[in-house]
């Protein structure tokens, strides 16, 4: 493909305004040209029709005369009319059976014209006697008829399409272009103004958001045109950004809030140790406790980090299709001794393979959080189950504990959310926010099932 010429790539031509303007001007010019073309055609058609009728009349007139008189008489009468015909610029000729012109202002009867009375337009060299413009080619409406047996009568009428008419049409064309050009420019300018006005609304909103007024939105007119759609898209994008910013704000607020108590405990232990400098024997214990608090702080931070990553969907690129039955069996393998050590049992309820697109590590972390919760707050047997049905994969962790009351399930899902009866336990919250964020990252949702004497939390997500 050839490269476009330089001007095509120049900054001025790249401007959408200039291109739009040129396009509009070109379209209007084409329109004017087409209109004039149609007018000229109509005009010529009308003139030709008149010429044709004049020619036909002259021919009919002459044939009438020929049939009412002898050939010699007709010849004399033609001679008398020839001058007038010649002056009108018309053609007249009577030829004998050999093609010799007996009388007329034409040297020969053009070959290819049949003597059947049909008429047609022909370009013929004008006869040189008396008429202006002798010798130039002109359009004639010519017919040839047979008279007196093999004699032929040629009658031609000159077209009245004139140079004057042609130039006046050209002049009209130029004049209308002169009017059309400013009109085209005006139209283009108006169209650009309308488009600019619509774009300006979106642009002003973007500028306002950039300046920090995050709640600004593009006003929509409901027309559903592409500007309206663009506005709606921009609004949806701003809503998403706003949501993420808000979540980030809540995260940092709650993080700051929840980090205070472990830091407070750290300080208290350090201060106590410092104020009793002689109890050196206690120091290993004090330092160990400080280390534990540091670990807890770290756990909270990494939990918050994982949640944010999951919610932003950043880990999606590491997702791969896997059998959930195997994934769950691996988790059970890791956790079974821990569960048994606390006098409970871990049961695996997996009947068939169930494949899904998962992030193995994140999903394992989420399910191990659920097992941790069941160990800490639940009771009795812990049942891990996987089932595939209707394109959905369901992983459940169930136990025979009291579970989370319905009115507290939302609190449990919040970051670092800890229910009152769980406050005494150490830990970084229930971790349910992480579980929910992970399941959402997998395109699924978390469901609670609570019946008398049993409680289950299920992750329902799309199966592969």
């Amino acid at each position: 493909m050839a490269h476009p010429p330089g001007w095509f790539r120049s900054a001025l031509f790249r401007s959408a305004h200039v291109r739009f303007l040129l396009l509009l001007v070109a379209i209007e010019l084409c329109l004017v040209g087409a209109m004039l073309g149609v007018v000229a055609r109509q005009l010529h058609g009308a003139i030709d029709a008149r010429d044709e009728s004049v020619a036909s009349q002259l021919r009919d007139d002459l044939i009438d005369q020929a049939s009412g008189s002898g050939s010699e008489e007709f010849r004399r009468s033609l001679a008398g009319r020839l001058r007038a015909i010649q002056e009108r610029g018309d053609l007249l000729a009577l030829a004998d059976e050999t093609g010799r012109i007996l009388i007329g202002n034409v040297r020969t009867v053009p070959a290819g014209l049949r003597a059947d009375g049909s008429a047609r337009w022909l370009l013929v060299r004008a006869p040189g006697v008396g008429a202006s413009g002798a010798g130039v080619q002109r359009r004639y409406f010519i017919s040839v008829n047979s008279v007196y047996g093999d004699y032929r009568l040629l009658v031609g009428h000159a077209s009245e399409r004139s140079e004057a008419l042609r130039s006046s049409i050209t002049e009209a064309a130029l004049k209308s272009l002169l009017v059309a050009l400013p009109l085209a420019l005006l139209g283009a300018w108006l169209a650009i103004r309308v488009i600019e006005g619509r774009i300006e609304r979106i642009s002003a909103t973007a500028a306002a958001v950039a300046q920090g007024r995050l709640s600004e939105r593009v006003s929509l007119d409901g027309s559903g045109d592409s500007f309206d759609k663009l506005g709606a898209r921009v609004n949806a994008m701003l809503d998403r950004i706003g949501g993420l910013v808000e979540e980030l704000r809540i995260l940092s607020d709650s993080l700051a809030h929840d980090l205070r108590s472990p830091i407070m405990r750290l300080r208290a232990r350090i201060d106590t140790a410092l104020s009793n400098p002689h109890d050196e024997a206690d120091w290993p214990e004090v330092l160990g406790a400080i280390g534990l608090e540091a670990d807890r702080l770290q756990a909270m931070l990494s939990n918050a980090l994982e949640i944010s990553r999951a919610e932003a969907g950043l880990a999606r690129r590491q997702m791969a299709e896997q059998d959930l039955a195997v994934l769950i069996a691996d988790i059970a393998d890791l956790y079974e001794p821990l569960v048994e050590e606390s006098g409970r049992t871990l049961t695996l309820d997996v009947t068939a393979p169930c494949r899904a697109l998962v992030h193995r590590e994140m999903l394992t972390l989420a399910i191990s959080n659920l097992i941790d919760n069941a160990l800490k707050y639940g009771a009795g047997e812990i049942i891990l189950s996987v089932a595939c049905a209707d394109g959905k994969a369901t992983i459940c962790v169930a136990d025979h504990g009291p579970g989370i009351p319905e009115d507290q399930q939302q609190i449990a899902l919040s970051r670092f959310g800890r229910l009152d009866n769980a406050r005494s336990e150490s830990g970084a919250g229930l971790g349910l926010a992480l579980v929910e964020a992970t399941v959402r990252m997998h395109g699924g949702a978390l469901q609670f099932g609570r019946t008398a004497g049993s409680f289950r939390i299920c992750a329902v997500m799309p199966a592969a």
């Binding site: 990494s302 994982e306 880990a315 393998d333 890791l334 590590e361 994140m362 394992t364 972390l365």
Partner: protein
């Protein structure tokens, strides 16, 4: 196992913590605080291991790693990073590092992991083993028979995998996260003592009453398998 180690870390306090700790263990340590110098020094190939921070001025840690690997320098690299999500760890390991440690870390964790890298380098190229042993504990890798002296020990598959990992790293300190990575291939921090329970079950079977223990707890770090306490 002392070695020549390059530490690339720009944070003064962390660098001091790491460098002084490693010197105390008898390592020969060089320290740089930017990525370009790290690449320059590591390129001469005389180091046994490189501890590389991810966020270095001059040149990013992962870029240094890529440049080293592109130049066919296969010195073991341990990445230190404040980017600690599970996702980051997996990404760090797939980018060609030999190990990945998230800040904040315990020094014991760092030294245990470095030790593993140094040993792996020394023993690289040795033939595939069919038997592992430590004192009177012997494991046949083909038949999966485990024996303590003449006593035959029945192990569950996961206990066997755990013992095999400990035997392959005998004499070294292995941390809980190293076990979780090496035996179960998980790269997150377990919030519970899930690993300790596995070890104590294994210990009950391996170290019977009256036998000299081979599985030792290293306080504040992890475990070590060896004949002497």
């Amino acid at each position: 196992m002392p070695g020549k180690i390059l530490v690339a870390e720009d944070d003064g306090a962390t660098a001091h913590y790491v460098v002084s700790g490693l010197k105390e263990l008898g390592h020969n340590v060089d320290h740089v605080d930017n990525g370009r110098e790290a690449l320059f020094l590591a390129t001469d190939g005389s180091y046994d291991a490189v501890v590389l921070d991810r966020m270095l001025p001059g040149m990013e840690g992962m870029a240094v790693l890529q440049a080293l690997r592109a130049a066919q320098i296969d010195v073991p690299v341990l990445i230190l990073s404040a980017l600690g999500s599970v996702d980051d760890r997996v990404a760090g390991l797939t980018a060609g590092s030999d190990d990945y440690l998230v800040k904040p870390f315990a020094f014991a964790e760092l030294s245990a992991r470095l030790d593993r890298l140094l040993r792996r380098r020394r023993t690289a190229g040795t033939e595939a083993q069919t038997k592992l042993s430590c004192g009177d504990l012997a494991v046949d890798l083909l038949s999966r028979d485990v024996k303590r002296g003449t006593r035959s020990i029945e192990l569950q598959p996961r206990e066997y995998r755990l013992l095999e990992f400990l035997l392959r790293h005998q004499g070294q300190v292995v941390t809980r996260t190293m076990l979780l990575e090496g035996v179960w291939d998980y790269h997150f921090d377990p919030m519970t003592n899930v690993i300790d329970v596995h070890i104590s079950r294994l210990r009950r079977k391996i170290d019977a009453e009256g036998e000299a223990p081979v599985i030792h707890t290293v306080r504040g770090a992890g475990y070590r398998l060896g004949v002497a306490g």
